[in-house]
């Protein structure tokens, strides 16, 4: 009987074992992960944050680790807890072991921003050792770490150029371009390669901009009502179809390819410049494999984007600014054909800075690395630009 009771009592204890082993940060981190929309969980999170920041530096790596999979809000709660404990320890001259922090930051499976934060902490503890890690970040999945490596390559390439060693500079700057994922760095490297070393740089391919589209326009957008109106391309995409457009004039799809370095698809080129109109752009993207991806859009017109027939997002803001990667829309690529439909609305404003009726769109991963279609066509050659002024009444004026 006694021999029976012993295994029974042990088996009863087994479910409790995780609780018995729970670390002091476990429950607070669970609480921080629960912060939700519209302030849900804030009060509980504040108590959890207080508990976390009462701990010593032993909490740093576990909290950094917990950022993986946490929401953007929860990560910020965790980040401030980490920095608060770290700063306090440094101020108190408490020993903060750098080894575990370094081990965390070089492990690429951890959350990218958490690794960047770990790098900054490690840089305060061991500046020289941290600086020695930077060249290894050139192919890092964390864009914020990769940025430092690109900056270093860019500086080296410039120095080699100034020293007259064009061969070395070319190799260094090409490595910088391969590594660069952020627009300002890509532009800086490209400028040197093109202007100082007479190199061709296929920027649309580097970014992953989609350059080949079919366009159809103009549909109506009088009074900005076109944003909400459902025109025929939203219900079917038939590239040989003809529809009644603005003022019932027939409109048809037409092929369009942009040579722009930043993939700008300019409706004004084939259709305008015209005002109070709506246009659509359609393309197909053949993916090598099913995977997570992002559609990144820049547009200063009101827009909507559909991916594989599903509306991803829409925004009815006009002429407040445009930049590359202005909006990031997560998608799941299917292996093979994927469809992308963009709606771009032009409004009634007549100032020079409201002439643009365009967008730029690329497909990339979460780090900004281009994902190229299996059947990507060559980037079109640039032609001399044609400048036209807006014409409110419709029709183009050369």
């Amino acid at each position: 009987m006694k021999s029976l009771l012993l295994p029974l009592s042990l088996s009863l204890l087994l479910p409790l074992s995780p609780l018995l082993r729970a670390e002091p940060w476990t429950a607070p981190l669970d609480q921080l992960r629960k912060v939700g929309p519209e302030g849900a969980g804030n009060a509980e999170a504040a108590a959890a944050w207080t508990a976390l920041t009462a701990l010593g530096p032993e909490m740093l790596v576990p909290v950094l680790t917990a950022m993986e999979g946490a929401s953007p809000l929860a990560r910020n709660w965790m980040r401030t807890a980490v920095e608060t404990v770290f700063d306090r320890a440094i101020a108190a001259k408490t020993d903060v072991p750098g080894g575990p922090i370094k081990a965390f930051l070089v492990d690429r499976k951890h959350e990218p921003n958490a690794r960047r934060l770990a790098f900054e902490l490690y840089s305060k503890l061991s500046p020289e050792e941290a600086a020695a890690l930077v060249p290894g970040f050139a192919d890092d999945p964390s864009p914020a770490l990769r940025r430092d490596a690109v900056a270093k390559l860019l500086a080296e390439g410039k120095a080699q150029l100034e020293a007259g060693d064009q061969a070395k500079s070319l190799a260094t700057l090409n490595a910088a371009l391969d590594a660069a994922r952020e627009v300002d760095q890509i532009d800086a490297v490209t400028k040197l390669l093109r202007e100082k070393l007479a190199q061709k740089v296929d920027l649309p391919k580097h970014f992953g901009f989609l350059s080949h589209w079919h366009l159809i326009a103009p549909f109506d957008n009088t009074g900005r009502a076109g944003f909400d109106r459902v025109f025929s391309p939203e219900t079917e995409v038939k590239l040989d179809a003809e529809y009644p457009g603005k003022e019932d004039k027939p409109v048809k799809w037409q092929a369009y390819a942009t040579p722009d370095d930043y993939g700008k698809v300019d409706f004004n080129q084939p259709f305008g410049p015209i005002k109070e109109v709506t246009g659509y752009a359609y393309t197909e993207f053949n993916a090598a494999e099913a995977r997570d991806a992002q559609i990144r859009l820049g547009c200063k017109n009101a827009w909507k984007v559909w991916f594989n027939g599903e509306l991803l997002f829409g925004r009815d803001e006009y002429h407040r600014g445009q930049r590359i990667d202005q909006y990031s829309l997560p998608v799941k690529l299917k292996q093979g054909k994927n469809t992308i439909l963009v709606k771009a609305c032009q409004n009634e404003q007549t100032q020079d800075w409201t002439a643009q009726w365009e967008f730029q769109l690329r497909v990339c991963d979460a780090t900004g690395t281009a994902i190229l279609a299996t059947d990507r066509q060559p980037t079109p050659e640039k032609a001399a630009p044609v400048r036209r002024r807006p014409n409110r009444e419709g029709g183009a004026k050369e």
């Binding site: 700063d87 921003n113 300002d184 803001e317």
Partner: protein
Amino acid sequence: MRSSFLHSITPLLLLFAFPAKADWLNFRGPNGSGHAPDITTTVGELSDQTLAWKVALPGRGLGSPIVVGEKVFVTAASGPEQQQLHILCFSAKDGAPLWERRFWATGRTMSHNKTNVAAPTPASDGERIYALYSSNDLICVDLNGNLVWMRGLTLDYPNASNSLGMASSPLVVGDTLVAQIENDSESFAAGFDLLTGVNKWKLDRPKSANWTSPTVLQKDGEAIVALQSSDGILGLLPSTGSSVFTVPGAASTIPSSAASGDELFIPSNGLTVVKLGATGEEPKKVWNQSNQRPGTASVLVTGEKLYLINNAGVLTCAKRASGEVLWEVRLKGPFSGSPVAGGDGKLYIFSEQGVGQVVDPSGEKGVISSEIELGETILSTASLDGETLYIRSDGHLWKFAKK
């Protein structure tokens, strides 16, 4: 009976409407209107002799510093895409850094190059700091930097953003933090619980970009928040968001109004002044001067005088009661910040080129009584605290103190 009852509760209501501490707690200080009559003597002079200290900041920002007790708080944004948000706390005494909290922006950080994600001025109730950014991240910390709550308003309301950048500054009124998140798309204003950050109320607002900040009127001891927009003015009770009055007609979306007692000086059709009526009545127009057009700088009212600065950098002083122009003086502009003044009536304003100017209006005509070139871009508004003044430039936080 009614009047004596109101008389007896007025001090109590005022106590709840604003913290007792005579600090500089938000954009343009008391009532969000730039005039602090309780500061009887201001710094008076901007010079190397009155420069107490300056400290470097880790990023740009347009928001003003705010002052609570012996601490000065300022926000900043840094990084290639302005995705690092900072709240910084300094010792008012010597500028020593006391603490810093950093956050990753959760909303869009795109803005016009001139402005910045840290464009709004933070607000305080004397116990906590409420920092709003153009990314619509709204963060509450206590005075020691302990995180109290955080909202990502663009996570909650995905089309609430302005690709040029947001700039409206929030304001604590009584037990509510009031913020205008107004833009061309998902435009709203909201009142937030001070302790938890949850919405107490949320109102749809005109779908139009709006960079103005709320101001506070006082009527029979009750604080009424005035929200300005291209549709005019909406007056509401801060705790509930209930509408109290409206002033129709387009108002500016860049310079903000000034509230003085129960009168509101609105950048609308030039300048329009309204006076609150009895409960249930719409405000009455006092006067309008269509040729008095504020530029970017907001309107300022001190006692019987009002001031506005046009886009040419001309400071106009007019009679509060009628709008009659008393004098004009050309300042060294242009200006993105607004003038502020204490009880001695001296005006403090900094140009975009970093020229700090003190205008003494005590004579027949205003004169620039003091001037200093700080050599840095300044797009912000100064803050006053007793005989001291704080200003933030693109790279530094500066303190001037009376000698």
